[in-house]
C-alpha cells in the first residue's frame, strides 16, 4: 500500500467486499488476507482518502495506491471529552480546521490565523502587539459584556479558559491569553464544536461552544522521524490616515477670523496638539523646545515612528512509533519584535506526547506542553497617557518627529519630560517614555494530561483522566520619574516621583474525570453510552506590591521606594466544580441516530442553598442519503437537529458574598486608616444561569464528494446571567452583581466547499463560509428596560455601552443633536450646538455577519491559497475621530477655518436659520462637552484580502537525498489588502481590546500590519 506520495501506507483497512473478513496494513504498508473461494473484491479504505475497490482476478499480490479525498470533511471528529465519533452520528454543528494552514499562514497567536475560516467563528485580533490575545466568539456574544463569552478551549482533553488578559480599558496593555502557549507546529487537529449542544458534555464552561485541540503524539508503525520547521516574517505598519495637512499648530483667533501660529515657545507648547493655527507655508516657526523649524506638513510621522516588526520561529520535532505505541517531542522558539520600537516578545514551547498500548486492553496516553513567554513592553493602547500611538496620532502635523526625538528632557532640571503640549499628562512623548518606562511580563505554563483506558470487555471500557494546568506569572512595570510633569520630585520635594509595581500570579487548575463507556451493537441498533464524573479544582494566588517616592534616581525597585501604596497577597480565586453526567447514543442501521445527555454541576462560588444546576440535551441525525442510494449526484446527506442547555456560574466571583475591609499600607500622620474593599456592593445570593440553544442543520456532499454543503440555523438564549450592573455611585458603590437579563443570539451558518477544477495536474478548491448572527435583549431586571454597562473613558470620554430591552445587545449610546419636527438641527442663538438631555442608542457594536472565501489552487507541486474575509453589520464609535475633530486634525475640522463655523441649522429660540459664525475650536469641542456622537459613528464593515500563500513541495526534487522525506517551502503575505471599509483614517480592525466591554468603541491603538513570511518545512 502506498499513498499519493508513494510513501508506505500503514493502517489502511483492507476488507473483502460483502464479508466481515479484513485486515490492516502494517508499518511497511504490507497486508495479508485470506480470500474465500470464488471471485472476490477487495475494498481499501482510510479516513480522508478515496475508497478503492479492486477485484482480485486471481492475483496473489495486489499493490494499491490511495489518493486523498480533498473535499471530505473529516469522517471522524473529535467530540466532547475527547470521544471520537463519526461525523454522521452527530446531531450538532461541528467543523474541523485544516492544520497545515496554521503552520504556513503562521501568526504569533495561533487563534488569529483562524479568522474567516470557520462559519460562525468570529476571531478578532486586537492591534495590541505580538504577545496579544484574540477575541474568540462562536455564534455571537452569549452573555452580557463582562461575562466570559469565549468558547472553552480543550487541549488534549484539558479544559481551559481562554484566559485573555486584555487591554480592557484601564489595563491598557494586552498581555496575551492561553492560546499563546500552543505552538501551531504541534497541533494535530482543531475541531470547533459550535453551540451549547455540541458541548453539553462539558457543562458549565462550554455554554459558548468549545474548540478542541489535540497535539501530535506520533503515529504507530511510523519509525523514527525528525521534522524541522523555520518561519521568518516581516511586518510593516499600515497607515490609513488622511488627516488635514493644510493648517499647523496654533489656535483660532476670533478677532482675525482665522487661525494663528504660536508666537512664543510657551504658546507652541500649549498649542502643540492643536491644529487650529495658520496655513502651512514652510516659514521658520518656533516649536515647544524653543528651536525654529519650518512650518510645514509632516504626513509620514506614523510610518516613520513604527519600525518593521519581525517574527522568527524555529521548531524541531522528533517522533517515532512501533506497533504498540508512538511518541513525539518538540521544541519551538519564537522571537518577535513588534512594530512599536521597544516591544519584544520571546516564547519557547516544549511539547511531548506519547500513547502506548500497555496491553491489549490497557491504553495509556500522555501529553505535556510547557511554555515560557517573555513579553517586553506590549504597547499601551486604548488609553490616554503614555501610549505611543496616542501621541503620534494626536499632535499637530507641523511638528516633525525629529523634534520629539531631539528635545526629550526639560533643560531646566535635566530629568523631567520636556512638555510638548498643553495636555501634559495625557500626551506623553514616546521618545521620553520608551527608554525609561518598562513593562515586563514573564510567564511559565505547564499543561499536562494523562489518560488511562481499560477495556473491561469488548463493549465496556473505563477511562480515567487527570489534567494539570499550572502557570506562574511575574510582571513588573513602572511610571518613570518626571513623566507628564515638570517636577521630578514628589509633592514634598524630597524623593523622586514615579511608581514601581510588581505582581506575581500562581495558578493551578486540576481537572480529573472518570468515564464508564458502553459500545454495543444489537441487531440493527447500536448503543454508545457513557457515565462519568468530573472535579475541577482551581486555586489562584497573587502578590501585589507598589511603591513610590524613590531615594536613588532611576532605580525602580521595592527597596528604593519609600512610600508603599500597595502591599497585598492572598488568594484571588478559588473554586471547585463537581459534576456527574450521563450520555447515550442510539443508532439504527447506521443512518439514524439520537443522542441524549444529562449533567449536574455543583458550584462552590454560588449561594450554598442553590448552588447546583442540572441540564440536558437531545440531538438527532438522519443520514437520508443511505435511503437514497440511487441518486447519483448525492454522495452523502444528513439532516440534524438539537436542543441543549448548558448551565454556568460564570460571573460569580470568589468569596464575594461578604463586605470585607482592609487597612491602607501607609498611616496618616501615624494613624492607621481603614477601608471597605469592594467597590461593588456584594451579593451573596447569586444563582447559576442557563443557556438554552436549539439548532437544525443540513449536510450534503454531492457529485462524488466533489461539492459539500453544511447549513445550520440556531437560536440561543441566555437567561439570568450574573452581571455587574452599574448603579448610582450615591449608594457608595459603583456596581453590583445580579442574576438578570435574558439575551438572545440567533442566526445561521453556511459552509460551501467544492472542487471547481479537479484534474490530475491542476486542482482548484473553493470554500466559502458565512455566518449571520442577530442579538436581542429579551429582558433585564424586573421594571428596568435599559441599563448602562460601561461609561467609556480611556482615550476619549464619550458614550456608554447600554442594554435596552427589544434592541440588539451592546448598544453604543451618547447624546445627539436636538432637532425640530422637520428634522433640522437646533442651535443656540450664539450658533453653538445643543444636545438632547437623554442618551440615545446609535446601534450595536457587534457585527451581524462574518465570513470568508478561501481558494486553493494546486498545480503539480505548487499550491496557491488566496483567502478573503469580511465582517460587518455593526457600528463603531470612534474616539479618535472625536479627538481629531476637537483638536483640528481631521479633514472634517477644515470647515470654518476662515471666518468661523456657520453650522447648518436653525435657532432653537425662534426657528430662524443660523447665520452666526463660531470659533471652530469652541464649536467642535462642544461635541465632547455635550457628548454628541453623531459625526463619530461609522459602520464596522470591512472586506479584506487576508492571505496569499504560495507553497512548493520540493520533495521529489530532493528524493535523491535519501533521508529527506519531505521538503516544502511556503511564501505568505497576510493582510494583503483592505478592499472596503467605512471608518475613515483607521483600519476597522484596529481596536484595543479582546474583551466585550469596549466592543464597537474605538480607542487609539497601534496600527495594524501587513506581514510577509517564508516558511521552510523539512522532514527527515
Amino acid at each position: 500500500m502506498t499513498d499519493e506520495n508513494g510513501s508506505l501506507f500503514a493502517g489502511v483497512n483492507v476488507v473483502v467486499k460483502g464479508t466481515t473478513s479484513g485486515t490492516v496494513t502494517d508499518a511497511d504498508g504490507k497486508y495479508s488476507i485470506q480470500l474465500p473461494s470464488g471471485e472476490s473484491t477487495l475494498v481499501f479504505s482510510f479516513v480522508g482518502y478515496h475508497i478503492q475497490e479492486v477485484s482480485v482476478d486471481g492475483r496473489t499480490t495486489i499493490d494499491v495506491s490511495l489518493l486523498p479525498d480533498v473535499t471530505s470533511l473529516a469522517e471522524v471528529v473529535v467530540t466532547a471529552l475527547g470521544i471520537k465519533k463519526e461525523s454522521k452520528k452527530l446531531g450538532y454543528s461541528v467543523e474541523s480546521v485544516g492544520v497545515d494552514q496554521l503552520q504556513q499562514n503562521r501568526t504569533v497567536n495561533m487563534m488569529e490565523s483562524l479568522e474567516g475560516k470557520v462559519a460562525g467563528l468570529d476571531i478578532s485580533p486586537p492591534a495590541a502587539g505580538s504577545g496579544a490575545s484574540t477575541k474568540i466568539r462562536l455564534r455571537g456574544q452569549t452573555a452580557f459584556s463582562g461575562a466570559n463569552n469565549a468558547p472553552l478551549i480543550v487541549i488534549n482533553g484539558l479544559p481551559m479558559d481562554q484566559g485573555a488578559i486584555s487591554a480592557n480599558g484601564n489595563d491598557a496593555r494586552d498581555r496575551g491569553d492561553a492560546l499563546q502557549s500552543i505552538n501551531p507546529d504541534d497541533i494535530e487537529t482543531v475541531t470547533v464544536l459550535k453551540g451549547a449542544t455540541a458541548a453539553a458534555l462539558y457543562g458549565s464552561r462550554a455554554g459558548n461552544g468549545a474548540i478542541i485541540i489535540t497535539t501530535k503524539s506520533g503515529q504507530k508503525g511510523q519509525g523514527i522521524g525528525i521534522e524541522y520547521n523555520t518561519n521568518y516574517a516581516v511586518s510593516t505598519a499600515l497607515d490609513y490616515t488622511d488627516l488635514q495637512q493644510e493648517y499647523g499648530s496654533g489656535t483660532w483667533n476670533a478677532t482675525l477670523g482665522t487661525g494663528v501660529r504660536p508666537a512664543t515657545q510657551g504658546e507652541a507648547t500649549a498649542q502643540g496638539m492643536l491644529g487650529w493655527g495658520a496655513k502651512l507655508d514652510g516659514e521658520p516657526q518656533i516649536n515647544f523646545d524653543g528651536k525654529s523649524r519650518p512650518y510645514s506638513a509632516n504626513p509620514n510621522r506614523f510610518k516613520d515612528f513604527y519600525r518593521d516588526g519581525t517574527n522568527f520561529t524555529n521548531t524541531v520535532a522528533l517522533s517515532g512509533g512501533n506497533e504498540r505505541g508512538s511518541f513525539r517531542g518538540s521544541f519551538s522558539d519564537l522571537k518577535s519584535k513588534g512594530i512599536t520600537p521597544n516591544n519584544e516578545y520571546h516564547k519557547r514551547i516544549a511539547n511531548f506526547g506519547f500513547n502506548y498500548d500497555m496491553s491489549k486492553k490497557l491504553k495509556l496516553a500522555f501529553n505535556a506542553n510547557y511554555s515560557n513567554e517573555e513579553n517586553d513592553n506590549p504597547p499601551q493602547v486604548g488609553i490616554q497617557g503614555s501610549g505611543e500611538a496616542n501621541f503620534i496620532y494626536r499632535m499637530s502635523t507641523s511638528i516633525p518627529l525629529s523634534a520629539y526625538q531631539e528635545s526629550v528632557v526639560n533643560p531646566v532640571n535635566g530629568i523631567t519630560e520636556m512638555p510638548t503640549s498643553g495636555f501634559q499628562t495625557t500626551l506623553i512623548n514616546p521618545y521620553f517614555s520608551m527608554p525609561r518606562q518598562f513593562f515586563r511580563d514573564k510567564r511559565d505554563r505547564l499543561l499536562a494530561t494523562t489518560t488511562l483506558r481499560y477495556d473491561l470487555t469488548d463493549w465496556l471500557y473505563i477511562q480515567g483522566r487527570y489534567n494539570y494546568d499550572h502557570s506562574s506569572v511575574f510582571s513588573e512595570f513602572n511610571t518613570p520619574t518626571g513623566q507628564g510633569t515638570n517636577n521630578p520630585y514628589n509633592a514634598t520635594g524630597v524623593e523622586f516621583n514615579g511608581v514601581y509595581t510588581t505582581n506575581t500570579n500562581d495558578r493551578t487548575d486540576i481537572n480529573a474525570d472518570f468515564m464508564l463507556g458502553v459500545n454495543k451493537e444489537i441487531k440493527d441498533f447500536s448503543i454508545d453510552a457513557t457515565l462519568g464524573g468530573n472535579t475541577l479544582r482551581q486555586e489562584y494566588r497573587f502578590t501585589n506590591q507598589a511603591v513610590t517616592d524613590f531615594i536613588a534616581f532611576g532605580v525602580y525597585s521595592l527597596g528604593n521606594g519609600v512610600t508603599t501604596t500597595t502591599n497585598n497577597a492572598g488568594i484571588d480565586w478559588r473554586a471547585r466544580v463537581n459534576s456527574l453526567y450521563a450520555a447515550a447514543e442510539l443508532g439504527y442501521k447506521g443512518f439514524a441516530f439520537i443522542n441524549l445527555t444529562e449533567r449536574t454541576d455543583w458550584f462552590s462560588t454560588l449561594n450554598p442553598n442553590n448552588n447546583s444546576q442540572n441540564y440536558a440535551s437531545i440531538s438527532g441525525s438522519f443520514v437520508f442519503s443511505e435511503l437514497l442510494q440511487d441518486l447519483p449526484w448525492l454522495s452523502y446527506g444528513k439532516i440534524r437537529g438539537a436542543w441543549a442547555q448548558a448551565g454556568s456560574s460564570n460571573g460569580a466571583g470568589y468569596a464575594e458574598g461578604n463586605l470585607t475591609y482592609n487597612v491602607l499600607p501607609t498611616a496618616f500622620n501615624g494613624q492607621k486608616l481603614g477601608n471597605i474593599v469592594p467597590v461593588n456592593a456584594p451579593n451573596p445570593n447569586l444563582q447559576p444561569f442557563l443557556v438554552t440553544e436549539k439548532e437544525i442543520g443540513l449536510e450534503m456532499k454531492l457529485f462524488n464528494n466533489r461539492v459539500s454543503l453544511d447549513v445550520a440555523a440556531y437560536n440561543k438564549v441566555a437567561d439570568d446571567q450574573i452581571l455587574t450592573v452599574a448603579i448610582s455611585n450615591a449608594s457608595g458603590y459603583t456596581g453590583t452583581k445580579q442574576n438578570l437579563g435574558k439575551l438572545q443570539n440567533r442566526g445561521f451558518e453556511i459552509l460551501v466547499e467544492g472542487a471547481v477544477v479537479q484534474q490530475d495536474a491542476f486542482k482548484w478548491i473553493s470554500s466559502f463560509n458565512f455566518g449571520h448572527n442577530e442579538t436581542e435583549v429579551l429582558a433585564l431586571a424586573p421594571g428596568i428596560t435599559r441599563f448602562t454597562q460601561t461609561t467609556f473613558g480611556g482615550n476619549e470620554f464619550i458614550g456608554q455601552l447600554v442594554y435596552e430591552v427589544g434592541q440588539p445587545i451592546n448598544q453604543l449610546s451618547a447624546k445627539t443633536y436636538q432637532r425640530d419636527d422637520e428634522g433640522n438641527i437646533l442651535l443656540q442663538d450664539n450658533g453653538r450646538l445643543l444636545a438632547t438631555p437623554n442618551f440615545v442608542n446609535f446601534g450595536s457594536g457587534l457585527p451581524t455577519y462574518t465570513g470568508g472565501w478561501t481558494n486553493t489552487f494546486t498545480y503539480k507541486k505548487l499550491s496557491l491559497l488566496v483567502q478573503f474575509d469580511f465582517k460587518g453589520g455593526g457600528k463603531i464609535l470612534s474616539s479618535s475621530a472625536l479627538n481629531w475633530l476637537r483638536q483640528g486634525h481631521s479633514k472634517e475640522s477644515l470647515v470654518g477655518r476662515e471666518g468661523g463655523v456657520v453650522f447648518d441649522g436653525v435657532r432653537a429660540s425662534d426657528g430662524g436659520a443660523n447665520t452666526t459664525a463660531v470659533n471652530p475650536q469652541t464649536f467642535y469641542t462642544d461635541y465632547r462637552s455635550l457628548q454628541i456622537a453623531d459625526p463619530f459613528i461609522f459602520k464596522n464593515d470591512f472586506a479584506k484580502l487576508r492571505n496569499i500563500t504560495l507553497t512548493y513541495d520540493f520533495t521529489s526534487l530532493v528524493s535523491k537525498v535519501e533521508f529527506i522525506k519531505r521538503l516544502t517551502l511556503t511564501a505568505a503575505c497576510r493582510n494583503v489588502a483592505l478592499l472596503y471599509k467605512d471608518l475613515p483614517n483607521l483600519d476597522p480592525e484596529a481596536f484595543a481590546s479582546s474583551g466585550d466591554n469596549r466592543v464597537g468603541y474605538e480607542g487609539i491603538t497601534q496600527p495594524t500590519t501587513r506581514s510577509y513570511s517564508l516558511n521552510l518545512n523539512v522532514r527527515f
Partner: protein, 514 residues
Amino acid sequence: MKSRKYLILLCAAFFTLGGCDQNFEEINTNPYAIETLDPALLFANAQRQSHPGNWEVEQTIVQQFVNAYNLGATAGPNFNEDTDNFNVPRWNNLYPNSIKLLVQAIDLTEEQPTRVNLLSMMRIWKAYLYMTLVDTYGYVPYSEAGKGAAGDFFPAYDDDATIYDDLYNEIKSATDALNPTGDYVSADLFYKSAGTAANPAGQVAKWKKLGNSLLLRLGMRYSKINATLAEDIVSEAVSRGVMETNADNAYLVWSSAYPNQLNAGPRAINTYYYYVAEPFVEQLKATDDPRAKYMIGKYADPGAATTTSPDVTLANQFGFPVGYDSETIKAEAFNRGTQGSGLNYSQINFNVLGSATAPLFYVTNSQTKLLMAEATQRGWINSQGTAQELYEAGVKASMDEWALYPNATAIPLADQDTYLAHVDVAFNATDALELINTQYWLSSIGNGGESFANFRRSGFPTLSPNSYNNNLGGGFMRRLAYPNTEAGQNQANYEAAVSAFGPDNLTTRVFWDQ
C-alpha cells in the same frame, strides 16, 4: 469476577467524589480577608477623604483663582461652561469614599453602646459633608444614600430644604449625645490630642464646639429666605457654645505620603495655566493685606512655579482679569503680556498656600467669629461682644492660621492692627455686612466650597459677573450640575429630582439662595 471488578471501580469513583458539594463554604471563604474592623479606622479614613474643593471650580466662581487657558477641555467655571469634569469632583469624591465609609461605620457603631462618642462624632461629620453636598448641588440623595451594601442601589434624591432640617436635628442631637466621660476616640484626626484614653473630656469639648459652630453656619444660611428661623438657630447655637480660639479649628495637616489634594492638580502639570484673579489681588493690594505674601506671588517663569521662589512684593502683584482668556486678552490695551512659559500675572504662592503640605481648614474659629459678627450686626445675638470686636477677632484669627502653613510664620500683631486700622478694612456699621463677608471670603481661601456658599448667601464680596459669554444670563453660577452618570444610571430618580428642583443647569438656585 468481572462484574465485581467494575462494581468496585464504580464505588471507588463515587467515593472519591464524596458529597458533591462538601467543603464548598470553606473553599469560598477567603482566609486572608478582614471581615470585621474597628469602625474608628473607617472614620479616620473618612475624615482624611473629606473633599477639599477645586481651585478651578469654587475659588474660580468667587473670582479668587482662574485657569486662563481655554483649550476646550479646560473650559469650566472659568468661562461659564457647564462641563461634567468640573461638576463631578465633590459628588464622585464624597459618595464612594467618605459617605460610604461613614454610613457603614455608623451602622457598625450603633450596635455598640459604649462608643457613643465615636458615633456622635461620625454623625456630626457626616452632617457636615452632606451640608457641602446640598450647598453644591441642591437636591441630593441623603436618606437612601451610601446603602449599596444593604441593597439600595438607586437612591432617591431628597428635597434640599428637608435635608437641612434633618441636618439641624442630627447635629444637635449628636452634639448633645457627646459624653465627656464616655469613650475616647484615638483615631480622630482633628482633636485626638485634646484628650487621652483616661480623660476624653477635652476631645469631647472640642467636638461640641465644632458641632455648635456647624449649627451656627447652618442657621446663617437661612438669612436670605427666613430671617426669623436664622435668628433662632444662630442664637441657639451661640448659646450652646461655639469655637473660641484657633485651637478649636477643624483642620488636617498633610505630608509626603498624603499630600494636600487641593493643590495636587496645579502643582503636578501645566502650572503656567493657573493664576489668581484680578478682584482678589485688587482687594489684597488696596488694603495692604499682610496675608498676601503667603497667598500670592509673581514668578519669573509661571511654568516653574513649584520649584522656584516668587516675588511677594504686593506692588508687583497683578491678577488676571475675569472674563478673558489667554487669547482674548491680547486684544486689550491692559494686557500685561507673557512671562516665561506663561502669562505676566500673579499666581498662588506655591511655597505656602499652594504647598503640598499646606493644611486644609474645614470649620474655623475665624469663620465662626465673622458669622457671629454678622449675627450681632443684625441684632440676633448680643452676648459675644460687639460686631466690631467679633469682626476684628475673626480677622486676627485668620491671620494667626498662617503660622500653620509651611514656609510661613505668624503674622506679627503690629501688622494685624495696622491692617484693621486701614480705611478700607476698618469696621463701620454702614458697610458692616460687606466688610464681614469680604473677610469671610479671604479667611476661607483654602475652602472654596464655603466661600462659594457664603458669597451666594450674603451677596459679598462685591463682584461683577464673568462677562466671557452670556451662558449664565449675566449672573453668577448658583450651583454645579449633577454628574452625567446620574442621568444615565439613576435615571428615574434623577428625573424626579430635576422636575421637583428645577433644570439641571448652573443657574437653578439651592433653596436657601432664593
